[in-house]
Symmetry: D2
Subunit: 347 residues, 4 copies
């Protein structure tokens, strides 16, 4: 059952398509029948991504030449902006998981403000379901078009949404210092992403203005049922994969760190991919790299009434392609973890 098309494979070597190919290589129910890439049309996927030369894959075709007649579902890995038009043009019976930012923001004015152009498919925006699997599982199961979350938003919302819903933390002064590997910072051959510019160092970027801010604030505001404004400082770390979000929060009056811990524990008790660590164990990014897991924990702060929450994910798996496969599994009525049992690659 289930064959999939994968769009926009080749525009970027560090793109998301090869990560999905990697996951689908072990998926017992999905088979890749169409792969599109306008600029690389006619080429073999393995010549663009040599680590996947062992895979037997269809040649890349231009999107206009793609034959969707034998396709049930599509992963769309195109840059934001272009995605809206392309999805509009796809056959209506296809299930779609879109990995771009195009359908994540419910408010198309907010989209226009952060992305610099009017939304090109507002009617699809209304239909789209936000794909934070553990939080919106039922909606995703019935969706035709899922907007797969960004990596920072995934790592931040998984711990904060339940705590906010339960009114355990205050909405003011939520301060987030997040750290990402370079694969999350973009994909083009930019000077700023050269080995010589990245190795053995750290720097903050996009202070105040990172495009994941409205996505996080949308999720937290919905949980709070009132507008939440966050402080968000992302940092680029000299590592390929991995993301850590450190969240400094004020607890509601009378609430303790133990209350936060217990609430997260009961929220995620039966989840396969979200794990609250035991005791005071600190989540390490390297313990989830290569897997679809999110590890998290809660710590007391020296300042009374405050708590520190740390979550880690692989930004390319739970923060992108892994969650995408998890969502499509749900949409196709398959076990949610199918094809996703890759264990972390450590060391």
């Amino acid at each position: 059952m289930g064959s999939t098309a994968l769009g926009g494979a080749a525009p970027a070597r560090a793109g998301l398509a090869p990560k999905i190919v990697r996951l689908l290589a072990n998926h017992p129910q999905f088979r890749i029948t169409v792969m599109t890439a306008d600029r690389k049309a006619g080429e073999q996927f393995g010549s663009v991504f040599p680590h996947l030369i062992t895979q037997d894959l269809p040649n890349l075709v231009a999107i206009k030449d793609a034959d969707f007649s034998d396709v049930d579902a599509v992963f769309c890995c195109l840059p934001h902006g272009t995605t809206q038009e392309i999805i509009k043009g796809l056959p209506k019976q296809l299930k779609i998981v879109d990995l771009s930012a195009d359908f994540r923001l419910r408010d198309i004015n907010e989209y226009a403000e952060w992305y610099g152009h009017a939304h090109r498919a507002p009617e699809l925006q209304e239909e789209a379901v936000y794909g934070l699997t553990e939080v919106l599982r039922d909606e995703i199961r019935n969706a035709r078009l899922v907007a797969n979350p960004g990596c920072y938003p995934t790592s931040i919302q998984l711990p904060l949404v339940p705590l906010i819903k339960a009114k355990l933390i205050k909405l003011s002064n939520i301060i987030i210092d997040a750290k990402s590997g370079v694969t999350g910072a973009g994909r083009g051959a930019k000077e700023a992403n050269l080995y010589t510019e990245i190795a053995e160092g750290i720097h903050a970027y996009g202070i105040k203005g990172h495009r994941h801010v409205p996505e996080v604030e949308q999720g937290l505001s919905e949980a709070a049922e009132s507008k939440v404004t966050i402080s968000f400082t992302p940092n680029l770390i000299c590592m390929k994969r991995g993301m850590q979000s450190t969240m400094f929060v004020e607890m509601a009056p009378g609430v303790t760190v133990s209350d936060l811990y217990q609430h997260l524990k009961s929220t995620y008790e039966g989840e396969e991919f979200v794990k609250l660590l035991n005791g005071s164990n600190v989540p390490h990014t390297r313990h989830v790299v290569g897997s679809n897991y999110c590890f998290m924990n809660v710590f007391e702060d020296r300042i009374p009434g405050r708590a520190i929450i740390i979550s880690v994910i692989d930004n390319l798996v739970k923060g992108a392609s892994g969650q995408a496969v998890q969502n499509l599994n749900l949409m196709m009525g398959l076990p949610e973890n199918m094809g996703l049992q890759y264990q972390p690659l450590f060391p």
Copy 2:
């Protein structure tokens, strides 16, 4: 079918046991029922290796307390020396893949010379089959005790054994410059393996005296049916996983680089895990990391009559745990690739 015991898990955090656990997590036919670790007896595996806390595993037991009644096969991940005694004491019906060096050298005098003590189980040594899967598949299928090859020997013998057997290269002046990630260099908390000593640098080590030399020379000599002496210089690279062996060889009279290429192509044509790259594509370690693949290619040298052969593996997978699972699959009559479809984790 098939449950396995895993011995010697915990003596070293960078040890091989967690890599086998990672592979078996996705193996449809093997189940881990016993895990031994004398010094960590009573502990949970996930508390020693936090990246595997999501796995439901038996608690660690001392080897003397292990119950093998429900066990079909054993992966033995103990340090050399101790392994010989322990395997002697195991029930005879168990299939065993030993990842140590204890049964790799057929000549027990050579073992004594390189490892500093007399062999403690010479009768088992006679029974042991050397587990270089693609080269000795039939023998492995019928073996009870397999000596899983070292990482350097795997990466060197896969290309050189067929070329030597076919008399395409000379036996003199085989010069090997090999490069390994740190996981191959040892596992203890040694100063030499600290991040500060390893990051952003390279150095040679064990020039002339690396313990993998007799293992390689044994394999090449058997292929040649005469004694082969190699030049072998291993280097430690600032990376965790990955191994590249560069082999500088003289071709037999009249032989061309194209002859070497064609012979390797026909030798490995049907193999799932050994791939000769197309054209002049250069094998990169990062394109196999996390997988059981060996990529190789052959290049012309500037010096007439010489060729350069480069092979790459993940030293912990094809160079250790992956080949071990591949071998046990064979020994148990299962498809050789079962549980080994992990694709490379790149980037």
Copy 3:
């Protein structure tokens, strides 16, 4: 003029002594005449630290055998605890810069609480001057014993002390998320510091309980003339050198980010080693590594009334050995920057 002794060189390969040797190699006025190291007595420094084999240095001697008759000043690089006794035993005419934590905390009860034993030289503690050069220059100039600051405290106090003194930021809710290279995390051959445990990852450590907390709070409280409690979360980054401190602060009523910027600008205008970056330039750790510089800048937060301050240093230079040489220059009446003009090594 001026010969120096260097104590405690060899207990740790990643220790501070070699960093001071590196700096003194180019110092026109200091000459190393005595080097002590009890466990390595009799050895050559270059055999312990091969990157310094080109230096003509005295052999290591046990501290009890050291001849201080030709010595003017001492850098003391011993572990905390032992230092107090040893400095007590040194000739009184020696100028001393102590790089341990032993004399940093003015309150010996606080010392006892954080270090687990009663202070062994309370009378010296009273005499010691805290060596944060740009803040306490005049006191250092006249000091005999300087307690060289820790790395985190240097990177945090340089921006925060002037802002607190000028009452530009509130004393509550000072939240610090700091990131350090591995050289700052310790020096022994611990499993946690192996390349395989550190490379390609990040994790927090010592949440709430890092020993640099009381040192920072002491400095901020003195600036504020009232008790300050901070939130402090250090993270270990996969890099050798470098430290970034990100400080999330609330501004005093009516104060703007531009006020913070202008005050730091005027405070550090004439300083050689502390630089406020222009405009919205973000400090990168890699732009100061190998040098004695501290780069910093101030940014607006999305939450009104808050600001984000980022500072970067090389934890081993401005955070340790460089500031130590800077302090001894002052104590000896030399130009403060002598021997410290090493420019950053980038890339």
Copy 4:
């Protein structure tokens, strides 16, 4: 005495100009009075290279607008090809150290073959002296135009030229496996040099066809007084700086490894920057990074009659800017080590 101009600073962020600025920052006799950069004319050097913002430097000017009236010497850091024309146009009284490949090959036909265009300044080529300082010191002292050697050629010729001159090694079958950090592999924003493509891996490149081959063969052939053809395989390592060359050689009849060692020892006994290590100590790249040192040593091979020679340098210092300053010191009658006492930055 001595002011310098620095040409071609800004075309590439990873370019050589900033490394020379770093060295000259501590040079007591050279002052930078002119800096050219056509595309960045009008900008400040520190805005292009933020790690050098603390330096007081002249603004960048287009080369046609440069005023050389107050200039004694020029470091030319332009890409090959363009350099020939530009140096032709410079005032004749200027001393010039050219860091490009433009004047390294004495045979302009060979230049044309490897660089794809006819040499544009053959008369200057005749005048140019090859700047391998320790080998050609007297010629450099009297030169007006010095062609600064490439990094691989420096690391290879320093050990091999004296051994060949003394007829201690055979000219056939000189096999070189060299490893370079990424700064040596190019400077542009190429996909192949991204962090995600380089980190945690190794690969060979330019097998047979690397442009440093003719430069090495020229030097070895001159030492041999007959044509030498080498086997040369460069590898790109996941590190920023550092270069290791491993040379596998056959010794002349009757020659021992000890003979090689003794000859190198006496050759480089009085040299400040070339060091033969003691005993069997292995050169590590990380022990020279940031310095102008070349460390080397000689090892016995398992194959009788063969030896293994390993040398390490910082490819950007002794392999480029450091040797350039060393050469200009000589040309200006200054102590050769002036401004070059930067010690290695380790760890």
